[in-house]
């Protein structure tokens, strides 16, 4: 009956398994700047903004001023690409830089304009765009975040399915203040050993951004003086953590399950631009609580024995009661 059945189609016409439609080789060849690229060019080499300023638009501006930056957009594909270039809102929450959807706006993206919104790039072509940030007089003090996006899209399907849009961007960390570079600083509050629920040992550093600039923290951990004089590392801190002024975060290094518990001498170095902080601690990883089968099966065994004992007691009680009743009946008769 047609009303009982709904014919749903995410593709009109061709019904093809998606995997065969996308028969790509499982191991992609080493890509060398494939696709659409975006980069900052001609960054003014002024002090205070740190190495981050080579890849992101990082600056301190007073209200009522403006800056210009140049970005280069490249098409490293074999076909002509239509690229949309635009600023959109972004934010920083709990150490993670997050993007707003589509063309969503915030203060910074409203102040930002690009020279051309749409580019048509032949294969292998590159072009420059000027990004202008006009900070109004009434701009809010503090850190502002946005992204300059270069966006490409597949043609809209004629009959259902998924239209794919890919975009790549340059982050913008803009600090609005009355003048003078606000100091950047951070501190490692503690360095401890923990164990993940899945059993992997973790080294956790608690860090706090005590300065007034946004930080991008990366670093490494080295373990030494372990059991039998073992050394291990350096292990990278993953992922690199973005931290807003005043915020705290946990920087985690995930290690291999087979690593001995210790004690170890843990040496962690963390860096954000020119600021380098190190912490040293003697740590021992907590014992791996075997949550899986052994504990579970012994618990089942105990439960089984308990059930058996209870049923035995019930049976004994029933037997006693029936005997008592029989004795009473016998006495009555």
């Amino acid at each position: 009956m047609p009303s009982r059945l709904a014919i749903l189609s995410l593709l009109a016409g061709i019904v093809a398994p998606a995997s065969s439609a996308l028969a790509a080789s499982p191991q992609p060849p080493t890509p060398s700047s494939s696709g659409i690229g975006i980069r900052l060019v001609g960054v003014p080499a002024d002090a205070g903004n740190g190495p981050l300023a080579n890849s992101y638009i990082v600056d301190l501006l007073a209200p009522g001023t403006s800056i210009r930056r140049r970005i280069e957009i490249t098409n490293n594909t074999g076909t002509t690409a239509n690229v949309a270039v635009y600023p959109a809102a972004a934010g920083l929450r709990r150490g993670t830089f997050g993007f707003a959807s589509g063309h969503s706006r915030n203060e910074l993206s409203r102040w930002t304009s690009v020279s051309r919104g749409v580019l048509r790039l032949p294969p292998g072509a590159r072009t420059f765009e000027t990004v202008t940030i006009d900070v109004p007089k009434g701009a809010t003090h503090g850190e502002h975040y946005a992204v300059i996006w270069a966006e490409v899209s597949a043609a809209t399907p004629a009959g259902g399915g998924v239209t794919l849009v890919n975009r790549v961007g340059v982050r913008m960390y803009l600090s609005i203040g009355p003048g003078g570079a606000p100091p950047a600083n951070f501190a490692i509050a503690s360095l401890t050993a923990e164990r993940a629920a899945t059993g992997e040992p973790l080294v956790v550093a608690k860090i706090r951004n005590s300065g007034r600039r946004t930080l991008d923290i990366s670093g490494a951990l080295t373990l030494s003086k372990g059991p039998g004089g073992l050394r291990a590392g350096p292990f990278p801190v993953t992922p690199a953590t973005a931290l807003a002024p005043g915020d705290s975060a946990r920087v985690i290094v995930l290690l291999d399950k087979r690593l001995p518990r210790g004690p170890w001498r843990a040496h962690m170095t963390l860096r954000s631009g020119p600021i380098l902080r190190a912490a040293v601690a003697t740590i021992t990883f907590p014992r791996h609580v075997a949550v899986a089968k052994p504990a579970g099966s012994s618990r089942h065994l105990i439960l089984g024995v308990l059930i058996f004992l209870v049923s035995l007691a019930v049976a004994a009680l029933a037997l006693l009661l029936s005997r008592a009743r029989r004795a009473m009946i016998g006495r009555a008769a």
Partner: protein, 171 residues
Amino acid sequence: MRKYLLLASTFATLALAASLPASAADTPITFTLDAGALSISVPTASVPLGSSQVASASSHTFSGLLGTVTVTDDRGGTHAWVASVISTAFTGDAAQTAVAALNVHYVPGTITVSGVVATTPVTTNLTGVSPVVNGTSTGLAWASWNPTVSVVVPAGAAAGTYSATITHSVA
């Protein structure tokens, strides 16, 4: 050749003068190398997820591979990047009820990397911009994955052709 140049860009500004003993005769030599680009592959075609005859009494899941997404990071040095995904609702061709992005799920699958430490945060659905791959690049690096997207079409959905837009954002 280009690789070496780009590798040099790790140190975007090398002030050689700083490492030399300062004296009046010294000429400070400074040079600036621009960092390379951050790139994302270009989607070549829209992705069909198949069609199916579904009983209106039960829900049905459509799924398929979206095609390889490659992020190339030639910026040099250590850089973090985030790849996020958002989906619109799947809308039908007539005045039909749309399948909300709440019912769209994304699994990055195996991530092939070179010079990237990648982690995959847990993503429940694609209603908001959801981070799906967190990457930390060291030097010239790339990461590549072929995600699987699945759409749960609820029971009682109207027949028709549905389409949506899925956006990858990398910065």
